[in-house]
């Protein structure tokens, strides 16, 4: 497997360092899980890879021409906006193929008329299905019911089998266990 991403002795943060020193590599077709208690810098690590957070030391090496997609915990601001699910997918270039039936039937509804879980899954899908080689997901199971988590688990496997590398930050231990090829547990001051 070819390496998409390599982190060497990386320390990242915002105004000050928020992670311990981290070394890891991610290959195409691999799903890597990052877990650990609050405050160890899991989301900050994704933000640093995406170029949002500051790198204090170490380095991030990406395969040349790597296309990234990032799902954050921020909710897309769609309240009061006449934007349908189909239009949202078109914005990121995501395909609707493979959406669960409970969402596929509501693709032409305004996003602010969907339930919190439906909206979250559609916003997640728009990122997950965007043309990308490496997909970074931050707490993707938030707001999802059991059917949503099951569909996401199956779809992440399909996305990885199609060649994408996926990095997942999650507190949902059962989900991480079910979907990830490899799990790294971040702890304050160390990486296991």
């Amino acid at each position: 497997m070819s390496s998409l991403l390599k982190l060497e002795k990386l320390v990242a943060g915002w105004q000050q360092p928020a992670t311990s020193q981290i070394d890891l590599a991610l290959a195409a077709g691999e799903i890597l899980g990052l877990t650990g208690p609050n405050g160890v810098g899991k989301s900050t690590l994704l933000a640093a890879i995406a170029g949002r957070a500051k790198v204090f030391s170490g380095r991030i090496e990406q395969r040349p021409g790597l296309r990234l997609a990032l799902q954050t915990q921020d909710v897309p601001p769609v309240d009061g906006l006449p934007l349908s699910g189909r239009e949202l997918l078109a914005l990121t270039g995501a395909s609707a193929n493979g959406l669960p039936p409970w969402l596929n039937d509501r693709l032409d509804d305004r996003l602010d008329q969907l339930s919190g879980g439906q909206r979250h899954y559609l916003a997640l899908w728009a990122i997950l299905q965007a043309p990308a080689d490496l997909v970074l997901l931050d707490e993707p199971t938030n707001n999802l019911d059991a059917a949503g988590v099951a569909h996401l688990t199956a779809h992440l496997r399909e996305r990885a089998e199609a060649g994408a590398g996926i990095m997942v930050v999650s507190h949902d231990a059962a989900f991480v266990e079910a979907v990830c090829d490899r799990i790294i547990v971040l702890e304050a001051g160390d990486v296991e």
């Binding site: 995406a50 170029g51 949002r52 296309r67 990234l68 997609a69 990032l70 954050t72 897309p76 601001p77 769609v78 009061g80 906006l81 006449p82 934007l83 349908s84 189909r86 239009e87 949202l88 914005l91 990121t92 032409d108 509804d109 305004r110 728009a126 990122i127 965007a130």
Partner: protein
């Protein structure tokens, strides 16, 4: 009505009634509806400065609004949260009132700019609105996807290595120039009514973005045509008739 005296002002206003509601949808998307008032006031002040300095008012108005639109981003860190628009609005109003108070010619033009002077539009203004309007529609079409993406997924740009500022600055300049043109023709409040009310209703009622644009366009054009005929028939100033009509439509539809 179809006499050239009325036809040219009607067509000039019609061009603006097509552009302004669509522009207003993107201003509302960006939560920048106050920009409409700000650029209109700056354009009015620029027109009065040009008049006092011996230049064509239209050139001064367009130049002042264009500079405000292009320069706003230089101060974006200090003037976050819409503060830039509030300062531009207050500055434009203060300069315009001071000039009007000290120059008789500026006073007359100032009244015309704030009250609306659509019936005095000439063929030069019609050509300017026709060409500027066509350019504005083409630019809006080109910027539409990026503006929506910047609002919904702001990180998508950064993560793909695409710079956001050309889209943002391009839109700011487009909005400033379109509102300057509109202010010169139908006045500050007539332009603001068309930028604010049709998009407000479209955002409340439309089922998706494309239908929202069409609904805003329909409301803007229908209200404009009705206001033009009403104002002409009742021999009333156009701007206030348009504003009142849009308020009534707004209260009914919203």
């Amino acid at each position: 009505m179809w006499n050239e005296i009325f036809l040219i002002p009607f067509l000039t206003g019609l061009g603006l009634a097509v552009v302004l509601p669509l522009l207003g949808c993107y201003l509302r998307l960006r939560d920048e509806w106050l920009a409409a008032l700000a650029y209109s006031h700056v354009a009015a002040a620029g027109a009065l400065i040009a008049l006092v300095a011996g230049f064509a008012p239209a050139v001064g108005g367009v130049a002042a609004a264009g500079l405000a639109g292009a320069g706003k981003r230089l101060f974006s860190r200090r003037l976050a949260g819409g503060a830039s628009y509030a300062l531009l609005l207050l500055g434009g109003w203060a300069v315009a009132v001071l000039l009007a108070a000290n120059h008789p010619m500026a006073e007359r033009l100032g009244h015309a700019l704030f009250d609306g002077q659509l019936y005095f539009s000439g063929s030069e203004q019609l050509w300017l609105v026709a060409m500027g309007g066509a350019l504005a529609l083409l630019m809006l079409r080109a910027l539409s996807k990026q503006l929506l993406l910047l609002h919904v997924y702001p990180d998508f740009f950064r993560i793909r290595g695409v710079r956001a500022w050309p889209t943002q600055t391009g839109f700011d300049v487009l909005a400033a120039l379109a509102l300057a043109l509109a202010t010169m023709s139908m006045g500050v409040m007539g332009a603001f009514a068309l930028v604010f009310i049709p998009p407000w209703l479209a955002f409340r009622r439309a089922g998706n973005w494309r239908r929202g644009l069409l609904l805003a366009l329909f409301i803007g054009v229908a209200a404009y045509v009705a206001a033009f005929l009403l104002a002409l028939g009742l021999d009333q100033p156009f701007g206030p008739v348009l504003a009142l009509l849009l308020i009534v439509i707004g209260l009914v539809i919203a």
